[in-house]
């Protein structure tokens, strides 16, 4: 098997994989569901749903609490899931993997628990114009509260980061934190995070990577990326909603104060002083999302079995096909970089038609796309639009769905222009 993988390009059979996803067994407005909104959240395979149910039916108890059999069993499953996530991002140690509610909470954890103690007047925090609000607003807020300066790496007309601007930013001085998304949720741009991380480290800054949009679609290696912190979310990668993870370098996490306070995260509580639990528990106050974490682990198993390289290649082909088809229509504007530098996300507008109306009319054809600002208002302002339509693909997306999208767009134009 190994030798074959080296010679042949990895391939997956999306039509076959669709059978793993119960959601596709139903009709929407009498039509098969064309789910082209996986960038907002992914659908769930039976394998993950079974893992959730099995945990509740056979292993459910609170973790790290009881001495009885059930609690031990729940704890073992929960910690096994943590180790799967560790392996998924190629982290050196499972104690560096903190379960959070989602990627947003993971990024807030960094902004508060690292930012509060390490930022002040004269320091600079750098994000990019492409960022999702989750990787923008927490750092903007903490910069304002600590008196630090907040800057953004600009993008060019194709939605790619202008790395020439890094020198100017460096001249502004004392850069302490750089936060960049690995893949833009709005445009699908794959950002050169390794380069930016190297630059960040030259400045003496910590590098935060929002990989929420990347982790479902490509192999993640925190060490190769040069990240200091990295955030992911289970729900975008075939796992349950309600759980995500922050990976952080142990030395940084050790030096940080806690984020949420309460049970589980303490070592000893006295009236005069409380001390903190060891990693990763210092950052996991209260009962964690236990079944969700186990489901997260199952999702990692599922994606790993298919192969992240095969998933990436499949989505790349779909994006190239969609861009080609949309490019044939002179009343459609597409946004973002060429197909070879983007993930399975295509943002576009129809001349004179608001995205809400596009999405509404497509809905009647059983096609689900996103219409809005994609939680990236600074980017929308840069593009000079209020909103865009966004079609996004995953391992279960087939070409036929893109053809249906195109037919639907012709119908939209007929109704509204």
């Amino acid at each position: 098997m190994r030798a074959m993988a080296v010679t042949a390009k990895p391939k997956l059979d999306a039509r076959k994989l669709r059978a793993d996803f119960p959601i596709f067994e139903q009709l929407v407005h009498g039509k098969p569901l064309a789910y082209l909104d996986s960038a907002v959240t992914s659908q769930k395979p039976r394998y993950v749903l079974d893992a959730l149910l099995n945990f509740y039916e056979t292993s459910y108890g609170n973790v790290h609490r009881g001495v009885y059999w059930l609690s031990e069993r729940a704890t073992a499953e929960f910690e096994a899931a943590r180790d799967k996530v560790r392996g998924f991002v190629n982290a050196p140690s499972a104690k560096e993997v903190i379960f959070t509610r989602n990627a947003t909470e993971a990024l807030n954890l960094v902004a508060y628990a690292w930012g509060w103690d390490n930022l002040g007047p004269g320091d600079t925090v750098v994000v990019t114009e492409l960022e999702h609000h989750a990787n923008f607003v927490p750092f903007q807020f903490i910069a304002q509260r600590t008196g630090a300066t907040f800057k953004a790496i600009p993008i060019d007309g194709a939605g790619e980061l202008q790395l020439d601007a890094l020198d100017d930013l460096a001249a502004a001085g004392n850069i302490k934190l750089v936060a960049v998304g690995l893949i833009s949720n709005s445009l699908g741009t794959i950002n050169p995070v390794e380069k930016i991380a190297a630059w960040a480290h030259e400045q003496g800054a910590v590098m935060v990577v929002d990989a929420a949009q990347a982790a479902p679609h490509k192999a993640i290696d925190v060490q190769a990326l040069g990240a200091d912190f990295l955030a992911i979310s289970a729900h975008k990668m075939c796992g349950p909603s309600g759980v995500g993870a922050l990976w952080g370098k142990a030395e940084l996490l050790e030096a940080m104060s806690p984020f949420n306070l309460g049970g589980q995260m303490i070592r000893q509580v006295r009236m005069e002083k409380t001390t903190w639990n060891e990693l990763p528990y210092k950052f996991e106050a209260g009962t964690p999302p236990m079944a969700e974490a186990v489901g997260f682990g199952a999702a990692v198993d599922y994606l790993t079995a298919i192969g992240l390289d095969a998933i990436e290649e499949h989505e790349h082909e779909l994006a190239a096909y969609a861009l080609d088809r949309l490019g044939e229509l002179d009343w459609v504007t597409t946004y973002g970089p060429p197909a070879d530098r983007r993930a399975g996300i295509v943002s576009f507008n129809i001349e004179g038609v608001h995205p809400h109306d596009v999405a509404q009319i497509l809905d009647w054809e059983g096609i689900a796309i996103r219409a809005g600002h994609h939680c990236a208002q600074p980017l929308m302002a840069k593009l000079g639009v209020a909103a865009t339509n966004r079609a996004s693909f995953y391992l279960y997306t087939v070409r036929d769905e893109i053809d249906r999208l195109l037919d639907g767009l012709h119908k939209v134009r007929k109704v509204l222009t």
């Binding site: 608001h354 009647w364 600002h373």
Partner: protein, 143 residues
């Protein structure tokens, strides 16, 4: 008639393609801006008052979907010439009846953006009461 045909029925498309009261009133007596955080849509409403309490002229500008543009256009026709205090207490159902299409909770926000923004403008211009739904639409101080 399918739900689809109802939603984009002829009168909605007519108001969308030929909006009534679309434009800006320079030097309006009152104006307000509203935003729909879901989609980033923005609407501005401009009002001039007659000698009494009458809404002498009213216009809207901004960008939005067919539902929001059409319902705001219908709203302009409904309120022009009426008294500000009467319009300030107008219920959303009065407008929705006129719009006359089935709306999901999300699309309801599109259909009502113009109405709440108008109520903010009337509040600013005439001190009429502000409904709960309109609070926060515009950067206003309630005094």
């Amino acid at each position: 008639v399918s739900e689809f045909d109802q939603l984009y029925r002829e009168v909605i498309l007519d108001h969308y393609k030929n909006p009534r009261g679309h434009g800006v009133i320079e030097g309006a007596d009152a104006e307000a801006d509203g935003q729909n955080p879901l989609c980033g849509d923005e609407v501005s409403i401009y009002v001039t008052f007659g000698d009494d309490d009458t809404i002498e002229d009213v216009k809207f500008s901004g960008r939005g979907c067919a539902i929001s543009q059409a319902s705001t256009s219908m709203l302009m026709e409904m309120v022009k010439g009426r008294s500000a205090s009467e319009v300030a207490t107008m219920s959303k159902d009065d407008l929705l009846e006129e719009v006359g299409i089935p709306l999901t909770p999300i699309r309801l926000k599109c259909a009502l953006l113009g109405l709440w923004t108008l109520k903010v403008a009337l509040h600013k211009g005439k001190g009429t009461p502000l409904p709960e739904e309109a609070a926060g639409l515009d950067d206003l101080s309630l005094n």
